[in-house]
């Protein structure tokens, strides 16, 4: 309360009346000196000597007036220009210090800008697609289980059968697309007649439904992208779309890339087109290098290179075990499943164990485009109403079986919580660096100031604000 009163009084001091108060103070001090001199005179001291003694007892008049003035009102910018000039002078005099300070700040700013723009891209920037706000990802509201193999949220993964069923019944959407991200596929490109560029290595790809690119609104920068006709018959569409990044870096921007042969896991695929550089796939913070139709799934390797991959499109639904109750209570390491009368058993390194919940192999992530006039809740209830005939118990026992989330939000849930964690850590780190820089800078400056004031003529209690009242000291 008192502090507030003082603050307000000093604030008032900024608005006029200060000249009058300065004059009043001067008069007050003059009266003080006169009274003191008079008293000395009464004690028999000569008039001149009395006046000198009075001044001596008072201390510095100018200094008193200055302190008084500083206390009377704030000086927000009164000395700012002087401080600036003083700072510039000190920096010019101290080139080494200046160099270190400037470099420190430069590196700090650079690191921060980089981190923040990277984190921004990872966490918040929409995908480079047409009207990204309309694109939503589907989750199962009932189950929130982490996939033992990939560490990803299993609630974002669906079987092909569920995808097909939803695609047919969810009429509120402009369409639903499915994608399975495959981390490490063997990719080989041999030199062609027109280009010597070749490639052999492992690359990240997505196997996607035929409507993937049209639904996202991504247009080819060369050739054409996958269409529904490329995704009709199992194993009958050996076509591949490459990313612009892969095309530029690995194939030397070969102008005749369309029609070239790319071997994926030893199977030949024809390049039909290149995506624009801005589109890096549906996995945020990661670059997808190639896209092949969902129907070619049999030629892709599973997460750990099982050969051949499980073929859900043929109707032979393989069961996927959510977890295996091993001796230590968890873990999903198992070699195979053996059907028994009590249910399937897992074969693990420690022998046969009881299986956890069994569901269809589910690796597909499903995205849908919702037209602007359809609400999320309406679409969710339509999904749930149509899911009644899905035989799996996990879709039946929960009141809210399916949930929808806009892509920018869903990415935080779905893919690798590690990416988010690392991003946030990086962001926190850069903020810390920034704070340290902020704290260090004034300390360094004040060091310089202290040195100066120490070298000021003795008798001057503190270094006066730059340039002000040297005469006093």
């Amino acid at each position: 309360m008192t502090a507030l009163r003082i603050f307000l009084a000093r604030l008032r001091g900024l608005f006029g009346g200060d000249d009058r108060r300065e004059r009043e103070l001067r008069a007050e001090i003059d009266a003080h000196i006169a009274e003191a001199a008079e008293e000395f005179e009464r004690q028999g001291v000569p008039a001149n000597e009395g006046r000198r003694l009075a001044f001596a007892r008072f201390g510095g008049v100018t200094q008193t007036m200055e302190t008084h003035r500083d206390r009377r009102r704030f000086r927000p910018f009164g000395s700012f220009g002087q401080d600036l000039a003083y700072g510039a002078r000190m920096l010019a005099r101290n080139m080494g210090f200046t160099l270190v300070a400037v470099l420190t700040l430069a590196i700090g700013i650079l690191a921060n800008t980089t981190t923040i723009s990277a984190v921004n891209a990872v966490l918040f920037r929409p995908l480079a697609i047409d009207r990204p706000a309309q694109v939503h990802q589907i989750f199962t509201g009932g189950v929130r289980e982490v996939d033992g193999d990939t560490g990803e949220d299993a609630s974002a993964k669906f079987s092909y059968r569920v995808y097909k069923s939803l695609r047919e019944s969810a009429t509120m959407f402009d369409g639903l697309l499915a994608t399975w991200v495959l981390v490490s596929q063997a990719v080989n490109v041999a030199p062609s007649a027109t280009s010597r560029a070749s490639y052999a290595g492992r690359r990240r790809g997505e196997i996607v439904s035929g409507n993937y690119f049209s639904l996202l609104g991504v247009r080819a920068s060369q050739g054409r992208l996958l269409a529904d006709d490329d995704d009709r018959t199992p194993n009958a569409h050996p076509v591949v779309v490459l990313s612009e990044k892969f095309w530029k870096a690995q194939l030397d921007s070969d102008p005749n890339v369309v029609g070239r042969l790319v071997k994926i896991n030893g199977h030949p695929f024809n390049v039909i087109g290149i995506t624009p550089a801005s589109f890096t796939g549906t996995v945020f913070a990661a670059q997808t290098d190639f896209w092949v139709p969902l129907m070619m799934q049999g030629m892709m390797h599973g997460q750990y290179g099982q050969e051949p991959g499980p073929q859900w499109h043929t109707g032979a639904m393989r069961k996927y075990v959510m977890s295996c109750q091993s001796a230590n209570g968890g873990g999903s390491t198992f070699f195979g499943l053996r059907p028994t009368r009590e249910g399937p058993k897992c074969e693990t390194p420690l022998g046969e164990k009881n299986c956890g919940p069994v569901r269809e192999l589910a690796y597909l992530r499903i995205f849908g485009r919702l037209p602007g006039n359809i609400s999320r809740t309406a679409a969710e209830s339509q999904l749930n109403a149509s899911a009644g005939h899905l035989a799996e118990p996990m879709y039946a026992d929960s009141a809210r079986r399916f949930t929808l989330e806009p892509e920018v939000e869903s990415r935080h849930k779905d893919h690798s919580s590690q990416v988010r964690l690392i991003s946030l850590l990086a962001l926190g780190g850069s903020i810390l660096v920034w704070l340290v820089a902020c704290a260090t800078w004034p300390i360094c400056c004040s060091r310089v100031r202290v040195r100066v004031s120490a070298s000021w003529p003795s008798g001057c209690r503190s270094a006066p604000a730059a340039g002000a009242s040297h005469g006093n000291c």
């Binding site: 009266a31 003080h32 007892r57 510095g60 008193t64 008084h68 206390r71």
Partner: protein, 111 residues
């Protein structure tokens, strides 16, 4: 002047005004010197910023008047808020110095 006393200049001024009633700056300075038996080598000038602070806090108020010798001087007087503040501070001061004093009284208890 020791640091302890420097920090309590405001309190000393308030107590002086309470004891003697409204005074002008020079009288306050002289009174402080007299009471302290000239142990406080006060730079009299430091009084004025201190007075300003007390006035801003609302503990004293000032008005122009006349000194004994008929000179125009600013007279400072304790306000109601100042009286209250002084009472509180005085109690706190007694309490604090009392505690410290008790420690100084401790005899060597090792033998």
């Amino acid at each position: 002047m020791s640091d302890v006393l420097y920090g309590s200049l405001g309190l000393i001024i308030l107590k002086t005004l309470e004891a003697l009633g409204p005074l002008h700056g020079y009288r306050i300075a002289r009174r402080i010197e007299q009471i302290s038996g000239d142990h406080l080598a006060l730079n009299q000038g430091t009084l004025y910023p201190a007075l300003l602070k007390l006035e801003q806090a609302g503990w004293i108020r000032s008005s122009w008047g006349e000194s004994d010798s008929g000179r125009a001087v600013k007279i400072y007087a304790l306000t109601k808020a100042g009286r209250k503040h002084l009472a509180a501070e005085e109690a706190a001061w007694q309490h604090a110095t009392g505690i410290v004093a008790r420690f100084f009284k401790i005899q060597d208890e090792r033998s």
